[in-house]
Symmetry: C2
Subunit: 346 residues, 2 copies
């Protein structure tokens, strides 16, 4: 049973560190539960107030358990997305591995720029060029083979800045938020513009979110009979793009209910938050604002990746909650906690 193991481990870790911090009188903000890695303040209070309100049977805002649907964007919201979407790193590495069987790629864009590590030229091909890369690198194999390849990549690839496996670049405060919501009988879903099958491979262990609770972009598939077995083959054609107006459609298709809690970090999540806001009854809309250039990255209105512009204005206008990463979060990544534990005299 690997589901939840990571989350439980981390919650216990935060508890151990908090006990240690108190007993040694070391510095650092006061730690309180739930959401121990969140600083006290308006953001944390707003989350806790909402959850306590909608789970209180005496409240006018009480929400029945089956309706407690919480949806989370992934890139830049549950894990980092800089200097480029992590799935694009996977696609690039895969293109390089496949290159020997595709001599034509040495002269054909956007593949040529990948093989020459010319990322700025690659990005100049825009959305269409990136989709072409993803198609070529994600199709032509069975669902099971794809899973194995992603798993292998995740165990070997490292983030250029932090030298960590990408599935360790997840946000500790968001893990605690997912855990807190589930502990209050919310069903937590990922609703990502990223590839549904890419996220499913590692999301279960990283976030405690089962594969069937992942909504994402997808390519077309067909049933094939290979080596005496029926397999789902991945085809080089887009099926569904789960971004912007696609997010409410993906939610309707996979979940069948409007969320009452929606969390995102970019204008690509705006329609999901609007859709949540337009439901009957109480709901919570949360944007993560990347404000921490030293511990993570700081970007918003002018960013090519994870642009948050209209969303910031609409959040202010409608009174939605905006996380200020630098101010609201005690730690960013779980590995910071692990390091703290290792280097302490505890």
């Amino acid at each position: 049973m690997k589901i939840h193991r990571t989350v439980y481990f981390l919650v216990i870790l935060v508890f151990i560190i908090s006990v240690f911090s108190c007993s040694s009188g070391s510095s650092g903000g006061e730690i309180s539960y739930p959401l121990p890695s969140w600083n006290e303040g308006e953001t944390k209070s707003a989350i806790i107030h909402f959850v306590e309100d909608v789970t209180n049977t005496n409240s006018a805002n009480f929400v029945e358990i089956p309706d407690r649907i919480a949806t989370f964007d992934n890139d830049g919201n549950l894990w980092s997305e800089q200097p480029m979407y992590f799935q694009l790193n996977f696609a690039i590495d895969r293109i390089k591995n496949l290159a020997q069987d595709h001599p034509e790629w040495t002269t054909k864009q956007p593949f040529k720029s990948v093989l020459e590590d010319d990322i700025s030229t690659l990005l100049s091909y825009g959305h269409r060029g990136l989709l072409e890369l993803v198609m070529a690198s994600h199709a032509g194999i069975s669902a099971e083979e794809f899973e194995r390849i992603v798993r292998d990549w995740m165990s070997t690839a490292r983030h250029p800045r932090f030298n960590q496996p990408y599935n360790k670049m997840i946000y500790q405060p968001m893990l605690e938020l997912l855990y807190y919501l589930r502990n209050n009988d919310f069903k937590t879903f990922i609703v990502s513009g990223g590839g549904i099958e890419f996220i499913r491979v590692w999301g279960e262990e990283a976030y405690g979110i089962p594969k069937d609770q992942v909504v994402g972009s997808s390519i077309k598939t067909e049933l094939a009979f290979v080596d005496g077995k029926h397999v789902v083959m991945r085809l080089p054609e887009m099926d569904f793009i789960d971004d912007k107006a696609g997010k409410p459609l993906g939610i309707n298709k996979h979940i069948g209910r409007r969320p009452v809690f929606a969390s995102g970090n970019s204008d690509g999540d705006l329609e999901m938050l609007q859709y949540t806001d337009d439901g009957e009854g109480a709901s919570f809309k949360l944007f993560l604002h990347h404000t921490d250039s030293s511990r993570e990255w700081a970007y918003d209105r002018d960013s090519h990746i994870g642009k948050l512009d209209k969303g910031l204005d609409e959040a202010k206008e409608k009174g939605w909650t905006v996380i200020d990463m630098k101010e609201d979060w005690k730690v960013i990544y779980p590995f910071e906690l692990e390091k703290e534990l290792k280097t302490s005299s505890f």
Copy 2:
């Protein structure tokens, strides 16, 4: 909390009746748990043996909890499908309700035959004609409006033979099987050729299966802004047909894992069972054979609805389990139990 209420109620009901039967010495087969409405025999034994085997940590066939995925066809498998698919009754009633706004339907097929109650002509238009009906009757409204319309229909429409609401025409032994599997940490899913949003409206209460665990056929949707709110609008265009080879694709899209337990009743489910059979490790493949012309219906190889032909042969060849409805089931519908309780001297 309406989820599971019906199932719990019925399990308790079976228990009460079994106690009553024993104390009064009335006739009827011996009742034993689990699966009290199933007669003792090879079918029941095979199910229980499989579940005990794959949940035993000491067994070579042990299956981890996240992999305990069980998929059930709906029409003719969890509820009846005769004399025609129940969703078609919904579509016909809806066409009649909409007819006053569509004077052209009085001369245009297949609508004309619906308005004239000429079912044999209607059926002569085949798959394409039926799809046209479903499009016209299911589209042009928001997801929430559609849900309300299905809910209203379900509360008023009655089955022509049994004079029961359609959502009471569900199989008591299958409710017990769903309950038994969930009790052993299986996650149960509906994988139906029927409409995903049609089933979601009533399936949660009927089967204890949450909306997000329903896989089915779907029409395209778009995000619209109506009366100041974002809604998912239903479009008159097919998106996905979750039947035959579509079932493994629907499973891969919505669940992301091969099932280890698959249950169906027609050749439309054959690929789902083959796909399950081809997975790594132990799996259970189950066909329901409609053999009871007095309590339900008897049909298989030559039926227009729920044809079970190739499936019967393949089940025999590969040693899959086939339910003989007449022999294996003590009762068919929950309302039989309710009647028994009402008319008893208990």
